[in-house]
């Protein structure tokens, strides 16, 4: 498309359908401890499935 380049699709809606397992890292345990960015965390389920595929 000439006027639109999509950087990311509708991933959030898809994630809601299968999400909420709760096995992800607690958001404040990484590097911040005084602020909150949640979007830079990893989804453990996706990590696991990636590992499984490459194994």
């Amino acid at each position: 498309m000439k006027h639109v380049k999509t950087l990311a699709g509708a991933t959030l809606k898809q994630s809601a359908e299968q999400g909420g397992c709760g096995n992800c890292q607690a958001s404040c345990q990484s590097a911040c401890k005084t602020s909150s960015t949640v979007a830079n965390q990893r989804c453990e389920r996706k990590t696991e499935s990636k590992d499984t595929k490459s194994a």
Partner: protein, 444 residues
């Protein structure tokens, strides 16, 4: 970076758009019809050619039909159903003592007013407590924090041994992290951390003069020269994750220089955070500093783009944004998890919603000694979603910060549901920069 970005908040879709499409979006609203209205065509006729407008509109309409533009919000249904979760992470304040006297420390002189150290028995009780309150969760996290946790390194070791010894019996898997100023590091402790800790957060503020102005030793001298070689050795010998984590204040609004100084010194995983401080403090960040802070975040993104194009490896914590593989929408509804799935434990075994609530008696939630956990407070934190924070509901960044830091909200505004607006403004600027950087790196 000159990018026009459209974020469809509810679907998570991110689009880079042309100037025509960007302007057009100010003149249209859902529900969209298949063809651009004559009225809008006439309104913009002096600015753009009709065929350009029609083409841009057609592309936007395609996104709209694909639910990637003006998509509806259905997550409030999930938010209302969120119940208190099992506990999955503890911040163990093993030392309410510190061997530094950092001017901006939110824990006073690192002692939270009591100067105590956690003993091994309390640490083990905390592990039992975590296991008991973690029904259904397999992966558990424990962060050793303080004060300075290396002042209680024997307790750290006892806790790690104890927890590892319970893994098979309980089916739990522990992930340990530690946050240290590094002053007490020696070869043996360095080896231990690199072996046992899945992540290590190393505190240093960047340039020597910036660091030593605020991160001082007990005798008032600077700490930079003593700590730097220890951090270099630890990171040099490390395979696992780490962050060099600094703080910027009103005194170093040119903090991109500090990020790059840490990078130059050999650290490519860097986090520099805005100071948490009452506005009356001379180093505090207030509304007045925001224009300069915003410009510096943009400057940092430009420097990082140049670095990545030259093959560099610098990673800045707040510009990490995996737009396709990030956390699920459910996680994003309530974010940090404090007081619900994440708790802090004091050296005496008292339980608080998180490390920043420690020392506020009204927020005590229980004790690892009697296993108690205040269900009413827990339910209150469990309901801390972006839909329960009135100022977050309509914010475009709500699924990226998830309503911000509850402790900051309470400290600055006296209410965990009222976001600290200056923190929000900085978070939004960081997100804008992160998305722009991502687009530029992909050469879009």
């Amino acid at each position: 970076m000159g990018k026009s970005v459209v974020l469809d908040v509810n679907s998570g879709a991110v689009h880079l758009v042309s100037e025509v499409a960007y302007v057009l979006l100010d003149h249209i609203s859902p529900p969209l019809t298949e063809n651009l209205s004559q009225t809008v065509l006439e309104q913009l006729a002096g600015k753009f050619a009709p065929e350009e407008l029609a083409q841009a509109y057609a592309e936007l309409y395609k996104l709209y039909n694909g639910d990637e533009l003006y998509s509806g919000d259905g997550y409030d249904l999930f938010a209302d159903k969120l119940v208190p979760s099992p506990v999955k992470a503890l911040c163990l304040n093993v030392a309410h003592q510190c061997n530094l006297r950092c001017a901006y420390c939110f824990a006073g002189d690192g002692d939270y007013g009591d100067s105590s150290l956690m003993d091994a028995q309390t640490g083990k009780k905390a592990i039992d407590y975590l296991i008991a309150h973690s029904h259904g969760r397999e992966s558990l996290e424990v962060d050793f924090f303080g004060g300075e946790p290396l002042l209680a390194i024997e307790t750290v070791k006892s806790v790690v041994d104890y927890a590892r010894g319970l893994e098979n019996e309980t089916g739990k898997r522990f992930r340990f992290t530690i946050t240290t100023n590094g002053l007490a590091l020696n070869d043996e402790i360095t080896d231990y951390i690199n072996q046992e800790m899945s992540n290590v957060v190393l505190s240093l503020d960047g340039r020597k003069e910036v660091n030593d102005r605020v991160r001082r030793r007990v005798d008032g001298s600077g700490s930079f020269e003593s700590i730097l070689p220890k951090f270099r050795k630890l990171v040099g010998e490390r395979d696992g994750e780490y962050y060099l984590r600094g703080t910027f204040t009103r005194h170093n609004l040119d903090f991109a220089q500090d990020v790059f100084e840490l990078y130059r010194l050999g650290f490519d995983q860097v986090s520099i955070e805005p100071v948490v401080a009452a506005p009356k403090q001379p180093y505090a960040l207030t509304e007045r500093e925001l224009p300069e802070v915003f410009a510096e975040y943009e400057h940092l993104a430009e420097l990082m783009l140049k670095d990545s194009r030259e093959g560099g490896t610098l990673n800045f914590f707040h510009y990490m944004l995996d737009l396709a593989q990030g956390p699920c929408a459910i996680k994003r509804l309530r974010g940090c998890g404090s007081g619900n799935e994440y708790l802090a434990v004091t050296p005496e075994g008292d339980v608080y919603p998180c490390h920043q609530f420690v020392g506020m008696p009204e927020w005590k939630m229980g004790s690892v000694y009697d296993g108690s956990l205040d269900a009413e407070k827990k339910a209150r934190f469990a309901a801390c979603t972006v839909y329960h924070k009135p100022e977050c509901r309509d914010c475009w960044a709500k699924y990226y910060c998830s309503g911000g830091c509850n402790a900051n909200n309470y400290s600055y505004r006296g209410d965990i549901l009222s976001p600290h607006i200056i923190s929000c403004d900085m978070e939004k600027k960081r997100l804008e920069c992160a998305i722009a950087l991502k687009a530029a790196q992909l050469d879009l």
